[in-house]
Symmetry: C2
Subunit: 572 residues, 2 copies
Amino acid sequence: MKVLRVDMNRLDVRSEPAPTAYELFGGRALIAHLLLDEIDPTCEPLGSGNNLIFAPGLLGGLPGLSSAGRLSVGGKSPLTGGVKEANSGGMAGDKLGRLGLKAVVVEGQPAEDGLFLLHITTHGAHLLPADDLRGLGNYDTVARLHERYGEEVAIASIGPAGEMGLAGAGIAVTEDLTKQPGRQAARGGLGAVMGSKGLKALVIDDTGAPPLPLADEDLFRRAARRFAQELIENPKTGKEGSMHLYGTSATMLAVNEIGALPTRNFSSGQFEAVQEICGPRLRETILARGGKIGVRCMAGCVIRCCNVFVDENGGPIVSTLQYETLVLLGSNLGISNLDDIARLNYMCNDLGLDSIEMGAAIGVAMDAGLAQFGDAQAALNLLRQVKEGTVLGRLLGNGAAVTGRVLGAKRIPVARGQAFPAYDPRALKGNGVTYATSAMGADHTAGNAIGSVKTVDPLSREGQAELSRKLQRIAAMLDMTGLCLFARPPVVDDPQLMVDLLNGRYGWGWTVEDLERAEEDVLRTEREFNRRAGFSEVHDRLPEIFCREPLPPRNAVFDIPPEELAKTTEGL
Amino acid sequence: MKVLRVDMNRLDVRSEPAPTAYELFGGRALIAHLLLDEIDPTCEPLGSGNNLIFAPGLLGGLPGLSSAGRLSVGGKSPLTGGVKEANSGGMAGDKLGRLGLKAVVVEGQPAEDGLFLLHITTHGAHLLPADDLRGLGNYDTVARLHERYGEEVAIASIGPAGEMGLAGAGIAVTEDLTKQPGRQAARGGLGAVMGSKGLKALVIDDTGAPPLPLADEDLFRRAARRFAQELIENPKTGKEGSMHLYGTSATMLAVNEIGALPTRNFSSGQFEAVQEICGPRLRETILARGGKIGVRCMAGCVIRCCNVFVDENGGPIVSTLQYETLVLLGSNLGISNLDDIARLNYMCNDLGLDSIEMGAAIGVAMDAGLAQFGDAQAALNLLRQVKEGTVLGRLLGNGAAVTGRVLGAKRIPVARGQAFPAYDPRALKGNGVTYATSAMGADHTAGNAIGSVKTVDPLSREGQAELSRKLQRIAAMLDMTGLCLFARPPVVDDPQLMVDLLNGRYGWGWTVEDLERAEEDVLRTEREFNRRAGFSEVHDRLPEIFCREPLPPRNAVFDIPPEELAKTTEGL
């Protein structure tokens, strides 16, 4: 396996063998170690001392394996000031893996204000001028690059938001079937880090790449088959399962039911118009209009949770309209029209903005009186301001925390400077614990308790710390292997299955305990980075208002005490 | 001595004896201890858990003593997130001291959106509705309160900026001779803390207050006389001294000469038009127009450094036009017309904004292209935006750090979130050390090396840490006793003189070593507060660009290494 070193100071790309010390690390784990080892944790995120790392998971690039091609992107976050790994579906992770690349590490910054793309093929990798792409949205960028390099390449790119250095900027990744930049490594502002390095896009072409070696082909094939079979037979991920039928929005009615659905800037946990935007309604609308359901973002995925949302005439608006977006740009803004939400989503994707961060920022702005809740046109106009680079646009584009601070808002839904995703921490306290204690800040993929409400009462103070810790470990496991969160049931139920996949691929002879140690190691390494960056347990908190203001209709507050929160990070 | 407890939750004021444990503390020292003991250092600065403290120094309220009536104001800072003491000349410190008050501690927040004033007399203290003052600038506020309470009261008030909760908001204090709100406890956003508590003004009436007791009247009188005599005879503070003749702007040409005068957003250390705004020019302009020079802000001050700057027809524009303002709103914006600067200063005072923070924020905004350097009308328009509460106005009003972050600026002159005052840390490295390591953030009164350039080369890396530590101790001594920075020579030359003043007043039997211990205790207590608030040595840094970008014309960078910086806080 190789590591690509992209030196933006000298505009030079080197391929080097992956150091053996990093052999056991992939995806998020590799990012954690590379950041801790190679950058100064106190560096300025948009300065030349930060690195931007693209890394497939340990199981990326293996065609026979379902749902394991997620791409991890990492760096020091301009939003949180801490370590950041954001990951994304789409084609890029698998293709980087297929090319035998453990990581692409982008270092430094060009002296001039240049803009470049990195073209990666089996023949090597090259930096090419990309000034012609300057200011283009992700859709136009991808269209031009498809024209130049063909439709089969995977593209990871930034839109104007990343070029502008906005801390709400993500990195778009093209999907398998639609070939559109519909996925994002969205969180933490890594798009701004990419912009700060003068890098507009990665174009990844794995044509001609040989299959990856398998240490124990038989073991791997059996495990991969069993994995796929279990996903197909699982009542949630299978053909009749809610995850296939409704995608990520499958969970919306349940979140609304427990009273944790962010509504009108987190002022309520239930949305009166939830039926207008929920999973079944989304599916029904798409099917009635001739859109697509059951689309896959990665080759070989058997779950196929994605969709192509179309307008009344069947013309595509956005792919894929997902739960977090439906809530943050929907109920959180009091907006109940799917077309409106889809258009806002498209605009976020095109500008290269995290739809969670933007939904939260616009929600805060609406709450501060800049627009009325429910006014979709106003929300669209606010996003246009980002595009135009007005002061208000730049403010919103820098996220909910700074927006709230500048506007003097009372309720600012953030942890560690990053916006809450679509679960109010007061009514789903396990998520509150994750938001407060994860090195990632508020993140729905860092340890999400929504799947555990039957075993741990989401309103109770009991057991949330232990639950969050366990879920954070599982999240680390998924993110280091490149597995999709939706594909977790088989390996959570039987970790030996994951061990078999890894042993089959690499021949490490791991046990389940080795896997668990590796999971803990991710959390510990990330926390150590943050410690050196200046964070301590003092920062493991939610904003005071969420500990004080009861959330209707359950009237819950976030009341997990610091001692309990500390259990979540014990030994890290 | 008493402490006034103002409970804004219950709108209730209690007077209680000052706890004996706080006997030895005054001003900044008392604030440090009260904050550490009584508030949670992790609290949100504008939340109900923060306290706002007004405290005269240990030597406040003694009519026979020159230059010792400064008012310390403290709380957790919304700008830095750390401990904050900002102090101010004017009448308020002496009058609080005269009333036998060690501190006024404002706690909690009113449930409703009420606005109040605190009226303090010898008969007690009362909260009174002040809704009629809502939105008024400091000048109108003071005019109305003078009408109601007479001209001899001291007033500490906030303008619209404080009511709006802007982190650049200060607390204005009326001056002795002009009776105008020309002084501010400006730094760190304490005006916003006052606004968050629904407190518009303190009206302090010491009519009928008995003289303060003196433990050893003879010792005190002798020391006070010697102190005054030495100030009068000192070549700088005496009648022909530059501090009397030119006020704080006496230092400008020297700062320009060493190349540390902030010019056009800290892009140069010399201003080509420095002669237009320097001390001699200021004096000459004022005198030619019939303004005033040699005005005192506190009763009994023998230095009398203040001025009344008037327009061409002799009508007052602002009192007192000072060095920090002349630079931050002058050379730092490329503005070389004293009338323009005076009008910007007036507007800052009226809105209740820190002119340092605003000058830095506008400088950053100009650098980011929002206006041209040198365009005074544009600067005035930007301040008007603050008044109007536009998004841009609120952004600027929240200070240089957030302005720079949102606008994507490259050079943001801040430490710990607070704007650099009028000394570039690259060419006056002792100040850079203070900015980086002081619990206060970048502050010209926390340990200013401009007086030491003859003993420590301001461009050298040697000796800066030791120098800053010594100066930080001296600053603590001044701020706990209420002494003006200008009045330091006699007590710095002979600390026994300060010990005599304290022993004369209180009968503590202190030695110079006791005084030094008390100074260290201030620094240690403040650092401990910040430690608990989440700060560590990692935060003792200047922004990277100041360590990398050479400052013309000396082409200096800030190159004091972390190990050296750490010496400044050794044992704290």
